[in-house]
């Protein structure tokens, strides 16, 4: 039937055109072309009477269906176009303008370094203990086998307050407090602030931080110390780091060792930071001297243990490549923001 075929063609054309409608005026054009007074579909509906009787009913039905469909499609499209246009009119967002950034706070690099050290040892089963900074000679020296008149005290030069009171020159005083408080097994690390009367320069400060570690139990050996320190060094400085222990002297440990790691700057080849020898000294360690056990009332024939200590500023300087210790206490916000 010719009339029905025509309707089909009109439908196809309408679909094609409406899809191409990008704005409202074009949509209006489409509406007029099909549904307007002289629109194609309107014309068909108007000329129904000219059709033979047999076709009249069927064509009328299809044409009216189509008129409803067209109207719906046009309205639907209009709604979409209106929304887009409204949004475009209203929204002047220039996405290239800078964002409004929240201000980021920062943790001090020394606090951050202490936390890292703490977390490594916590993962190995250590607990954290703290002790006083204003201390007596007994806890800072006597109990740690550091005799009054001895050159070994040179290394622990001290600020005094009054009478037997002083500012602790190392965190080792906490060892004594912990052992007095508690029976073995003991497994603690002791971070804290310490003081020595050193004039301030790029590598010296009268105030700095240490982390001390202590483990006491039956049958703790030197090889255990090596095991724990080796895990620490690799966790802190990287898995490929090499570690070595050199005999040294501390009054409160025997045997004593200084612990070096392969230089993290030159990877052991030798550079300015490691004075060309490829090694960086980062820790002091050793087996707890039986004299210390005697001072705190542990039986040295029953227990053995190890202790170690490190300077936090030194480690932070190596990790961050900071060459002047004073930077940590100047609190320049540009420095603090870099290292958080």
């Amino acid at each position: 039937m010719e009339a029905l075929d025509r309707l089909d063609r009109i439908k196809d054309r309408f679909e094609e055109e409406i899809k191409k409608c990008g704005d409202l005026s074009r949509l209006d054009g489409v509406r007029t072309a099909y549904l307007g007074r002289k629109g194609e579909l309107t014309m068909i509906l108007r000329s129904l009477s000219a059709l033979p009787d047999g076709q009249k009913v069927e064509v009328a039905k299809q044409a009216n269906l189509l008129k409803r469909e067209f109207t719906a499609r046009i309205e639907e499209t209009r709604a979409g176009l209106e929304e887009t246009e409204a949004a475009t009119k209203k929204d002047k967002t220039d996405v290239t303008l800078p964002g409004i950034r929240p201000r980021a706070g920062t943790v001090h690099p020394i606090t951050g370094t202490i936390s890292r050290i703490n977390e490594i040892f916590i993962s190995l089963g250590f607990s954290i203990a703290e002790g006083p900074e204003i201390e007596t000679e007994f806890y800072n020296f006597g109990a740690l086998n550091i005799p009054l008149e001895h050159p070994s005290r040179d290394a622990f030069d001290t600020f005094y307050i009054k009478g037997e009171y002083l500012l602790r020159s190392h965190t080792s005083n906490v060892q004594v407090h912990v052992m007095e408080r508690q029976k073995p097994p003991v497994q603690v690390i002791m971070p804290g602030r310490v003081y020595r009367p050193d004039a301030v320069d790029a590598s010296h400060s009268f105030m700095f931080h240490q982390v001390e570690g202590l483990m006491v139990d039956k049958g703790v050996s030197f090889s255990d110390l090596k095991g724990v320190l080796s895990i620490f060094c690799r966790s802190m400085f990287g898995n490929d780091i090499k570690m070595r222990l050199r005999p040294h002297f501390f009054p409160f440990t025997e045997p004593s060792a200084e612990v070096d790691i392969s230089c993290i700057i030159c990877e052991g080849k030798g550079c300015r930071v490691c004075s060309g020898n490829g090694w960086l000294e980062i820790l002091g360690a050793g087996l707890v001297n039986p004299k210390v056990f005697e001072a705190v009332g542990y039986d040295p024939s029953e227990y053995s243990g190890y202790a170690f200590g490190m300077g936090v500023e030194r480690i932070a300087m190596l990790l961050y490549g900071v060459e002047d210790i004073r930077l940590f206490f100047e609190n320049d916000i540009r420095f603090l923001r870099q290292l958080s």
Binding site: S127, F222, H248
Partner: protein, 687 residues
């Protein structure tokens, strides 16, 4: 300390070159810090630990090398040459007045010396080690010092008044010109070597110029003695004079080498000067305590975590100069030589074995671990929570010195309470332990403003140090109080951006941070106006219902800011944390979200400016009781159409109950009750 590689090799045969030698010595405890060419020789700089005075000489380090390389030690001849009979010569003598400070003194007379430059061998060796060659007599004393570690001193015998040495304490007012040409004042307590009239040397530290050996010297008195380490140390420190001699006496010289060193030096001096050895005088006596240790080598192996061969252990200890006798099983008996003052116990021998065995050969093992339930004390957890919160609010943590000047501390007199002062400060700038943290904060603020960083939000965890106020007051073991504290400092712009513009920080920014910190710890704070000199406006804050003030927050007075070179507003807060640690709650518990709806009513109040928001909030809370869920201040306004002297506050009050929906009449009743109470108690009207 410096050593000559060639000199060492004279006493110990080894194939190792200087590099290997240096490495092996370092790894056995005598750290070689540098190697330097010195003609055909190599000079090494060593760091010797204070427990090893026996390594402060060539022979001692040769002994170390013999153990490390497992080879024989060939010690030099330490005796007078044979056929040197005691000859008659000038009379001399020595007496000791203070045997506690000088237990042993020897004086040897050498007569007929020809003082001239020393022979090449002696001279090259001591010069390589950085000593200045003086003449054959002085050079020989230095040669023996370097070789054996015993400091010696040669006097011109003819210049010793009365020809007799008196070892005594210095008298008040006595002076001496030492060989470096400097006149030094002596004090009682310092030990001196004197003749019948005056001090002629500071014992163990430095000789006097007047009795110095010179080209005209014919007769010599050679001193070899043992001085008390503590005494030499004190004297050297008080004079600010450290010498090769004092360095060794302080650490303890070999009690068994006093006479031997004198013999060795005399033998060399005779050869160098053509003189003759005459009288040998001694005073005092040394108690040579014998140290004999039973050493269980099996136990040592367990402590080190290695396996040890007993024969090897015996050989190592012998090479180190010990006398070893085999006992039962793994036991040996070790007689310690006089020069090893550091070895007193079994563990000391274990260390000897370990360091020669090599720390690098000890395996790494893991001990049995004892994880505790709570790894961090609660206070540390609270501190970490506060720190995390402040960082998330955009604040940066700072760290300042806990030693400040008296003047800095005193700028806020109200915050200084029983301060703790150092007896031996490095300088006035670092004398007092922080009684408050405001000074450090302002210094940090100032530092940054001077570098054009003016917008700052900073915080610090520190301590407030004070003396115990009353005897018996509770302290944390140190006898002094160390109160953990938090300081916050805000200055400059709170924000500056193209969207919202600029706004300076304000008291309420600081208060909001403090409120939020407390909120994070589930603590209800209280704030009230407070007077602190130098801080205004100022609020005191405490834990609601508590008696103690936790701290303060406010604005620093401009006159004080001037002291820090700061010209913009700074707001600071200082909180003492001991009570906060006690009251903080870190556990979270779920509370059911309200199932019944809330109703919100606004109250617009017109009141005198003197009425505080705290007064109003108090009345609302009291009247509303449990029907109130939340009260928010949503507007504060004065000026405009508000009458002079008045202000307008608008509150939004949220009513609700957890068990049912509130009826309209109930809400109305409470709400008008609140308004009535406000009108009656504060005389406010409503808009």
């Amino acid at each position: 300390m410096k050593i000559s590689f060639e000199w060492i090799k004279e006493y110990v045969a080894m194939d190792a070159g200087p590099e290997e030698f240096a490495h092996r010595l370092t790894m056995s405890g005598s750290e070689v810090e540098a190697i330097r060419e010195a003609g055909p020789d190599k000079v090494m700089e060593l760091e010797i630990t204070p427990n090893r005075p026996d390594c402060l000489n060539i022979l001692g380090l040769a002994r170390e090398a013999s153990a490390v390389f497992d080879t024989e030690l060939k010690a030099p001849e330490i005796r007078l040459p044979e056929g040197v009979p005691e000859q008659t010569g000038p009379e001399a003598g020595c007496v000791i007045e203070n045997p506690d400070l000088c237990p042993k003194y020897t004086a040897r007379v050498i007569t007929g010396v020809d003082v001239k430059p020393a022979g090449k061998n002696v001279r090259t060796r001591i010069e390589a080690l950085g000593l200045r060659s003086v003449n054959n007599v002085v050079d020989v004393t230095n040669y023996c010092l370097m070789e054996l570690g015993q400091p010696l001193h040669a006097f011109d015998l003819d210049r010793i008044k009365g020809g007799r040495i008196i070892v005594r304490e210095a008298k008040k007012g006595e002076k001496i010109v030492t060989i470096d040409g400097i006149e030094r004042e002596l004090e009682p307590g310092m030990l001196v070597i004197a003749d019948s009239e005056r001090p002629i040397a500071i014992a163990g530290v430095m000789g006097g110029m007047d009795t110095e050996v010179s080209e005209t010297t014919e007769n010599i008195l050679l001193e070899s003695a043992y001085f008390d380490p503590g005494s030499v140390r004190r004297t050297a420190r008080r004079l600010g004079l450290s010498t090769d001699s004092s360095y060794r006496f302080e650490r303890g010289v070999d009690k068994g080498m006093i006479t031997g060193a004198s013999d060795r030096a005399a033998a060399l001096m005779i050869k160098e000067t053509g003189g003759r050895a005459c009288g040998f005088y001694e005073a005092g006596a040394l108690s040579l305590e014998e140290t004999v240790i039973d050493f269980d080598t099996e136990k040592a192996a367990v402590v080190l975590g290695v396996e040890l061969e007993i024969e090897w252990v015996e050989r190592v200890l012998r090479r180190l100069g010990m006398i070893v006798t085999r006992g039962e099983g793994a036991g040996i008996t070790v007689e310690v030589p006089s020069f090893r003052v550091d070895i007193k116990n079994e563990i000391d021998l274990t260390e000897e074995v370990a360091r020669i065995f090599g720390y690098d050969r000890i395996p790494a093992t893991m001990p049995k671990m004892f994880p505790a339930a709570e790894r961090k004390e609660f206070s540390r957890q609270v501190k970490e929570k506060i720190c995390g919160d402040l960082v998330s609010f955009g604040l940066s943590e700072i760290m300042t010195y806990s030693l400040i000047s008296d003047a800095s501390a005193g700028r806020f007199p109200a915050l200084v309470r029983d301060p703790v002062t150092l007896r031996n400060p490095l300088s006035e700038e670092q004398k007092v332990l922080t009684p408050h943290l405001v000074d450090g904060m302002l210094k940090a603020v100032s530092w940054n403003i001077n570098r054009k960083n003016r917008d700052l939000m900073l915080f610090e965890f520190g301590k407030l140090y004070s003396k115990p106020a009353a005897p018996g007051e509770e302290t944390d073991g140190g006898g002094y109080r160390e109160t953990p504290a938090l300081c916050i400092g805000l200055t400059g712009l709170a924000r500056e951006n193209w969207l919202e513009g600029k706004r300076n920080v304000d008291f309420y920014d600081l208060k909001g941070i403090v409120e939020q910190v407390f909120h994070g710890l589930k603590i209800m704070p209280e704030f009230r106006a407070m007077r602190i000199e130098g801080i205004a406006p100022c609020a005191g804050t405490g834990i609601k219902g508590g008696k103690k003030t936790t701290g303060f927050l406010g604005q620093v007075a401009a006159r004080l800011l001037k002291e820090y070179d700061i010209e913009q507003d700074v707001f600071v807060c200082q909180l003492e944390l001991d009570n906060v640690f006690k009251k903080a709650v870190l556990k979270n518990r779920y509370h059911s979200v309200p199932r019944f709806p809330s109703s919100v009513r606004d109250i617009s109040i017109l009141c005198e400016r003197s009425v505080t928001a705290g007064d109003i909030a108090g009345i609302i809370a009291e009247q509303g009781e449990e029907l109130i869920r939340q009260v928010d201040l949503i507007d504060v306004y004065q000026g405009g159409n508000i009458p002079q002297g008045k202000k307008s506050l608008t509150y939004s009050v949220k009513y609700g109950l957890d068990i049912r929906t509130l009826r309209e009449e109930e809400i109305e009743a409470v709400h008008s009750g609140i308004k009535d109470a406000l009108a009656k108690q504060l005389g406010v009207t409503f808009r």
